[in-house]
Symmetry: C2
Subunit: 263 residues, 2 copies
Amino acid sequence: MRHAIRNGILIKEEEATLPVTLRSVQYAYSVYEALKLKNGEFVHLKEHLERLRESARGIKIELRYQDSEIELWLNMLKDADGLMNETFRLLLVGKENIFFITHSQTRSYPDSYYSEGIDCILYEGERFLPNYKTSNLLLSYLALDEAESKGSFEALLVNRHGYVTEGTRSNFYALKGNRLYTASDEDVLLGVTRIGVMEAAKDMGVEVVYQPIYVKDIFSYDSLFISSTSMKAMPIRSIDGRPVSRSMNTMVLRFSDYVGAWE
Amino acid sequence: MRHAIRNGILIKEEEATLPVTLRSVQYAYSVYEALKLKNGEFVHLKEHLERLRESARGIKIELRYQDSEIELWLNMLKDADGLMNETFRLLLVGKENIFFITHSQTRSYPDSYYSEGIDCILYEGERFLPNYKTSNLLLSYLALDEAESKGSFEALLVNRHGYVTEGTRSNFYALKGNRLYTASDEDVLLGVTRIGVMEAAKDMGVEVVYQPIYVKDIFSYDSLFISSTSMKAMPIRSIDGRPVSRSMNTMVLRFSDYVGAWE
């Protein structure tokens, strides 16, 4: 039987529910995190908990639990269900601080996604409060739905100014020569794996340039890639059906390897 | 004991819950409606069901239930809980079409809200897909929270162009001379009570002008008011602490009376 945690209590997974009469549920007034357990260790737990607290604060919820408590609960759930490699989802609902931990199998992607790259579409839209991981995810749902209906893997969000900020569940980067371009911090989710990408750039002697990547210029870069906790760093092969790079770039593969090893 | 409806089945209200592991719940991929039962009759039921269907379609959910079925369920719930005057909430979750009906006491407001008007704040933000009543309500939550923390009743949303589109749970209007100004259809929720306001204008020989009401001009109108299913038409007394009209306007009171009688 699968379990979950609700406010520190081990429950059956099927009991991890929310009442539809609760205002915080009706308003999707909640924040979340997803983090990996790898070989029995939680990956970048500190960073994920820090961001959960930040996301909560961003929508005026004070997370009342300590990191140490949450870590205890994560381990409780891990032990109860005998897990070694898994993805955990933390959900904090409303000022009531209803707190769930659930888990699911860690997604893995075909090797070809890394060796050949993935297909993306462009989708117009801006995430509300992009720095925070809130449950206000309708834009992401619709954008991803559109991507999948076209056989693509990810939708890249284009803002009112005509530049790509991020993917629906990933950060976005462009490489040109010895430079890595990405949107500035205030426009995007501050992905935990994005920290790894920045460290990779530093180690590789690649200059990071926080500068908008305009749709009109998008095919002028050497290569493009996305990153996330589940994807690590994944090269982009095409956008809206048009190839983005003449060939797989060795630079993007180095990022991919670095970030894969970083966690 | 209070009841609810889930997919046509009468359940206890406490059983009206959603699993946090469901993707449609995690993405707040759902739409809703609120409608009133008044003296045992559902008010403007047809319009609310039409809008529910429209909202669903707007986010690519096909509502699989017929109006006649939903009406049957509403009556089932009304009878089970012996209700005569109440507010019902319909919630449709995801492509799975999980459908809930719950109910709560109809809000009533002090007479002074109508005779003296209410206080509003301005809040910068645009609802995503404003024509549809989706659960993507974080902006509304935060705006209303801000209003309430300042002792105000409603937050008026100001868009990127500097004009007020609507309130967090109301439509917004300005009166000047014999003209009623309001944002155009594509910018706002097409409130059911807004239809009543338009009918009132027609009956009163007031010309409706679909024209942005800019913040910079907002104090130049004779009077301002908001409308919603629960509020009917409610005059605005102040915005961000500044009085909006020298005196209560007889015109706005006529709108208020008309819309009150319309339902």
